[in-house]
């Protein structure tokens, strides 16, 4: 076990993957000498060479498109998108090529790409630097989508993503890059599959589901709720496509109440899918309609306004109060 930051854990995971398989190559903007704007690829070019850690010209479509070509030749490219908001120039290659090539070629050509995306807000950044585009990708058949919430998962899941024969969007909560945690660098990849959600906190009164940057907030919410006599079960989804509905369903069958939180816009976000699917799966166990605590349906706002957009502890607890029919900002207070 060693203590390391989130960012360092990904760096270490990338190094492992590169050591294990010489077909793993990294490609992205500024990832070489600079080590990436977040230093996630620090030292890797020095240690593995410029043909394993490739500083790409400034063109995201080409980063993805050439990675597709490399995958055709048996490579496992790991593409870094510098910030969430810069993934859109590559959207065409991701949606029409990366996602479809295995299907198109009837399984002949594998696309084991990993697309690393630092995502989410809370860092006081400029426009296009704080977005949460995951819903676009989980609506795209052929892709897998994961998001990590702690250094240990970051270390292992980046390796699992790279080892996976399907393309994986790997969403890194950039505001947690400097968070420290324990990492067991000896842990094997088979231990905990990346498709599986994890119950982070056990509880009985309501189920709170989230992923990535908000897992920490959800833990804090559980803590705060406990002080109020409410027992929250917190689930870190980890995989956003496919979603591990089984784990959430088991929890909701127990609690009867679901709150889902994410930073992405509400309409058409992951929360809608989770709420709809869980309602289908355990309608008769639900005591209240699932609540979504999300970013609003607005472009990501300027730094001094992001506090009014991002779900935080209070907004999440307000949602918990709603599913529990306790007093909340929209009324309630009869039940429980």
């Amino acid at each position: 076990m060693s203590t390391m930051t989130f960012g360092r854990a990904i760096n270490s995971g990338l190094r492992r993957a590169m050591e294990r398989d010489s077909k793993v190559v990294l490609i992205g903007e500024d990832i070489g000498m600079l080590g990436g704007v977040f230093r996630i690829t620090d030292e890797l070019q020095k240690d593995f060479g410029a043909h394993r850690v490739i500083d790409a010209p400034l063109a995201e479509s080409a980063i993805l498109g050439t990675a597709v070509g490399m995958a055709y030749r048996g490579y496992r490219p790991v593409c870094e998108i510098q910030f969430d908001g810069f993934i859109y120039p590559a959207f065409n290659q991701i949606v029409s090529q990366v996602a479809k090539l295995h299907y198109r070629t009837r399984g002949r050509v594998k696309m084991p790409l990993t697309i690393r995306v630092p995502f989410g807000g809370g860092i006081g950044a400029a426009e296009h630097h704080s977005e949460s585009p995951e819903a676009y990708f989980l609506h795209t058949p052929g892709l897998r989508v994961v998001s990590v919430s702690n250094p240990q998962d970051a270390f292992l899941m980046i390796q699992q993503a790279i080892a996976c024969d399907d393309p994986v969007l790997f969403f890194e909560p950039k505001r947690r890059y400097h968070t420290k945690g324990e990492v067991d660098e000896e842990a094997g990849l088979d231990g905990y599959p990346m498709e599986q959600a994890r119950v982070e906190v056990s509880g009985d009164d309501a189920t709170l589901v989230t992923y990535g940057p908000l897992v920490q907030v959800a833990r804090e919410a559980a803590e705060a709720a406990r002080g109020d006599g409410i027992s929250l079960e917190v689930i870190d989804l980890r995989s956003l496509s496919p979603i591990d509905f089984g784990t959430v369903e088991a929890s909701v069958r127990k609690t009867g109440r679901l709150v889902v939180a994410h930073e992405a816009a509400r309409t058409g976000g992951l929360g809608a899918e989770l709420a709809a699917s869980i309602t289908e799966r355990c309608f008769y166990h639900l005591e209240h309609a699932p609540e979504r605590i999300t970013g609003f349906d607005i472009p990501y706002p300027p730094a001094k306004m992001e506090q009014h957009h991002l779900p935080n502890l209070d907004r999440i607890l307000d949602g918990v109060d709603r599913v529990l029919d306790r007093r909340n900002s929209l009324g309630g207070g009869e039940g429980y």
Binding site: S61, G65, G69, Y72
Partner: protein, 371 residues
Amino acid sequence: MSLHAMGPVPQEDLIQLLAPDGSRTAGSGFDEWIEDVDGAALQGLYEDMVVVRRLDQEATALQRQGELALWPPLLGQEAAQIGSGRALRKDDFVFSSYRENGVAYCRGVGYADMLRVWRGNAPSGWDPYAVNMATPQVIIGAQTLHATGYAMATKFDGADSVAVSYFGDGATSQGDSNEAMVFAASFQAPVIFFCQNNQWAISEPVRLQAQRDIADRAPGFGIPSVRVDGNDVLACLAVTRQALDRARGGGGPTFIEAVTYRMGPHTTADDPSRYRDPNELEDWKGRDPIDRLGRLLEAEGLLGAEVSERVRAAADRAAGELREACVSMPEPGELEVFDNVYATPHAVLAGQRRDYQRYLASFEAAPGGAS
């Protein structure tokens, strides 16, 4: 008011080894690249072009007869495709668009595999690794990046095979095609950009896409280019061989503009009479790629009755096999839609497959329908 500057396509400065009248053109500087092409080889190229044209016509007919959903004819582009396609080594890798069935023929793609996707039976036709050619790319320009990435990886491997990307004049307008040149130049990737400028992108003339010759664009990216007579199979062979040689030797990418003409519609769904002057077609018929090589063969006594007969028979046989492959193709199964979406098991999709299977089964259970 015309909003854009258009003009006729100039025919000077084309690399040409064979004039439309079948005589050899001197002074191109490319003769050395076809020194080994003897009489038999010329006959082979001729047969290839005749067979490919015949296959193309048969496929067009199959579409008219309702056996194919769509077909993108290559009529007129045989020299560009056979000339370049026959230059390649087996371990080179092709990334093409949808119109390169002549190249696919050179790579050894089988007839059923060639038609599968156009019949609507499968998402694509063949195993790319069996013939070292990716299946058709429909998203304009996307494959130029795939070829470039493949070539970069070839270089990582220290191999000397070459990636070849085929695309049209219209594709040069897409961002992807230009980014591909940036990457190819920066990484000195062993890739050939083979642009078949067939003068049209559906209804849009090439002068809407490019104000200068298409071949003029690559040098600005640091990529040498040639403009070749795309209806001259020898010239296409020669320039492709030169480009392959450069790439194998570490000299990086080459851009080839093959100036040719789409004599047919864009696809069988298109009606070119809505947008183009029939005289243009007449004009290009005088530069027909097959007639041209035929005239050379005749002049050299290489197209006697026996050879003609052999070529015709080969074309007939190919057409017959193509038709047979088409009509005898097995229909896809009911649950095939779920196959190969992922390479590894996917719980949510597995659930959808299971539910759909039960849905289908419910019709057997209750013959009256599900409701």
